[in-house]
Amino acid sequence: MKRLSIVASAFVALALAAPARAQGPGSGGDPVKGKVVYERYCLSCHGELGNGAGEFAEWITTKPRDYRQGTFKWRSTPSGSLPTDADLDKTIRDGIYGTFMPTWYAIGEHNRRDVIAYIKTFSARWKTDKPQPSIVIPAEPPYSDASVKRGRAVYEKSNCAQCHGQDALGDGPSAHELKDDWGNPIVPYDLTQGHIKCGDTGSDIYRVFITGLNGTPMPSFTDSISPEEAWDLVHYIQSLSALYPKNYGPAAAK
């Protein structure tokens, strides 16, 4: 047992002593190794050419992302911008709920970093353009009934119902005629389901309508919704289902 623990600590030391090539989550990967990661895990949906037309794509309805335009939905960066490496890492790590995009948490940070470097080779945009700085999300105020009520007013004022419907069931007047940038029909999310696609926390919901979802009709409301209003709107959305985690007090506010 003693010998084992010596061997174990040697490996841990070896691993930790390795040159820290990596920067933040998702950054500094090797695209050559990333190609193998992609072939192992991603190719069946996203396709050999990165065009979202893998062998499984034909059979599923939310189509896998076509990487060639450099357009990504879930970002911390302003509308129209490329995502940061950390944004991509988060999406890949947690997956996209309700679609066939799995959570790749278990493949580990090392694989995700390499595959992110490889995904970027599919679009020239990554060479000519840089992600803009992430938006600043102020600390979350506690969840309260008063905030939910104010949030409902923001929902009405901002005309979210046009697409998401009066009761946020995803059935607004425009809901059935929407298309995404790739020409596929797209429906506004039913916000009462309790899981949105890319993260359920307050700041995940906040960033969706402040940065918008590139490539979809879901716009950015950064010019018309103030940060206070934004948090109220988040709380209104969270009130729609018991499944959303809520921040009830200052103790939980981080």
């Binding site: 174990a8 691993a15 895990y41 959570t103 948490y105 493949i107 090392h110 970093r113």
Partner: protein, 433 residues
């Protein structure tokens, strides 16, 4: 029966078993790949061995937990059934066998009877998963079920509470049903007992019982405990008449960069019983009448290291255990029999389609129950290596060429107390759909 006749029968038995019966395997399950649109490589480091993603998928109860698991989301044409077949040519040679013509080496070869695995598994509903593996039909039509369990996943909303009921493989450090090799050499330590022990308990054999299993996200920390009735115990067929207990816990570290991408350490142990008496009818034990149970124990550790790029790793596995069989299980024993053993396995996924692997198994008696016997009687060691080349894979099916060699040595059990060696050469096509 004379000693020689017994040995000949045993030798023939060994030969036939090795030549005809591939080790039990469940292995690859392309139905999951079809359901989720993933290639075999997503879940298998090199099939049939699972990688971290595959292990997490299995621990989650064959679910990805992204809202698409329930059967109602499957296309109506989907069936949770997979087939694995391995047509192969195997040549087997066993040395130092007693015959009427003296001590001889016996060999036999041929296109091995093609075993077929029919695997049915998946989810019945969200958080209710199952696996059924029939491995044969009796003349009266009864089905022999190698696996048959249902599992209630994520009870009380936590991944730390999963309960499996039915015939299942206990949570071994390395699954006995997913070896890289197809030759007849199993992981020796799983079935090894102190020389002469009556107990036939084999850790790699599926057991009827209950398993509690818990894990965290990504299965970096896992714990499993199985309580079961020891399979194949003579004279006992009531559920708890030959109780056994098995436990296993592991922790894995993953590293974001560097030469070592992951390291896993674990401990495991089993405590099983075996009857020493039974009522008989014409010499055959009467089911349910076994008595005077005596224990066998094993306790061990595992270390697994993944070197190099995690998508094409060089994977080192070391498993070792210490075991003890009660003297009451061993003929003429005056003391308990003890032994040590384990294996070291190295698998290198050179490319997604090429794997080379090497394994060394070693089991040594450290104390014979009958102290008059040579200390090394029935010690065993084996070397197995091979190459798997996958021709093609998609999210539906996969087939591979396999070429292997294995040599397995047993001390003092051949004719006139000679050592025996079983050599096996195998080439075949392994396919799964």
């Amino acid at each position: 029966m004379t000693r020689t006749a017994k040995l000949v029968t045993t030798a023939c038995g060994v030969l036939t078993t090795i030549a005809l019966l591939a080790p039990p395997r469940a292995g690859a399950f392309p139905a999951f790949a079809r359901k989720y649109g993933l290639r075999c490589t997503a879940c298998h480091e090199s099939w049939p061995k699972l990688n971290d993603f595959g292990r997490a998928f299995r621990d989650n109860g064959y679910q990805l937990l992204m809202g698409k698991d329930d059967t109602i989301f499957e296309t109506p044409g989907y069936w949770p059934v997979s087939v694995r077949i391995t047509p192969q040519y195997t040549y087997t040679q066993v040395t130092n066998q007693p015959t009427d013509q003296g001590t001889k080496n016996l060999g036999s070869g041929g296109v091995g009877q093609v075993g077929m695995d029919l695997l049915m598994g998946g989810v019945l509903f969200q958080n209710v998963s199952f696996l059924v593996v029939p491995t044969g039909f009796a003349p009266d039509g009864a089905v022999f079920l190698e696996s048959a369990w249902v599992r209630f996943d994520n009870l009380f909303g936590t991944s730390w509470a999963n309960l499996k009921l039915g015939r299942h493989e206990v949570d071994l450090p390395v699954s006995a049903h997913r070896p890289w090799n197809l030759t007849g050499t199993p992981y020796l330590i799983y079935s090894f007992h102190a020389n002469g022990s009556a107990s036939n308990y084999d850790m790699g054999e599926n057991q009827w019982g209950v398993e509690y299993m818990g894990h965290d996200r990504g299965s970096l920390n896992r714990v499993a405990v199985s309580v079961f009735n020891v399979q194949n115990s003579p004279g006992t067929e009531n559920f708890w008449s030959t109780p056994g207990l098995y436990g296993h816990a592991t922790h894995e570290w993953t590293f974001g960069s560097g030469a070592v991408s992951a390291l896993k350490l674990g401990v495991f142990g089993s405590y099983t019983t075996w009857p020493t008496t039974s009522f008989t009818s014409g010499g055959t034990p009467i089911p349910g009448t076994g008595g005077n149970l005596y224990p066998s124990e094993k306790i061990g550790g595992e270390a697994q290291v993944w070197f190099g790029p995690p998508a094409t790793p060089l994977h080192l596995i070391v498993v070792f255990a210490h075991g003890e069989d009660d003297k009451a299980l061993i003929p003429n024993a005056t003391q308990n029999g003890t032994f040590n053993g384990g294996f070291a396995e190295l698998g290198w996924t050179i490319t997604l389609k090429n794997l080379v692997f090497f394994r060394y198994d070693l089991c040594k008696n450290s104390q014979q129950g009958d102290p008059t016997l040579p200390q090394d009687l029935n010690d065993q060691n084996a070397i197995t290596f091979g190459w798997r080349h996958t021709f093609q894979f998609s999210n539906r099916s996969e087939y591979a060429l396999v070429a292997e060699y294995s040599t397995w040595q047993t001390m003092g059990m051949g004719a006139n107390g000679l050592n025996t060696r079983t050599n096996q050469y195998l080439v075949g096509i392994d396919f799964a759909y």
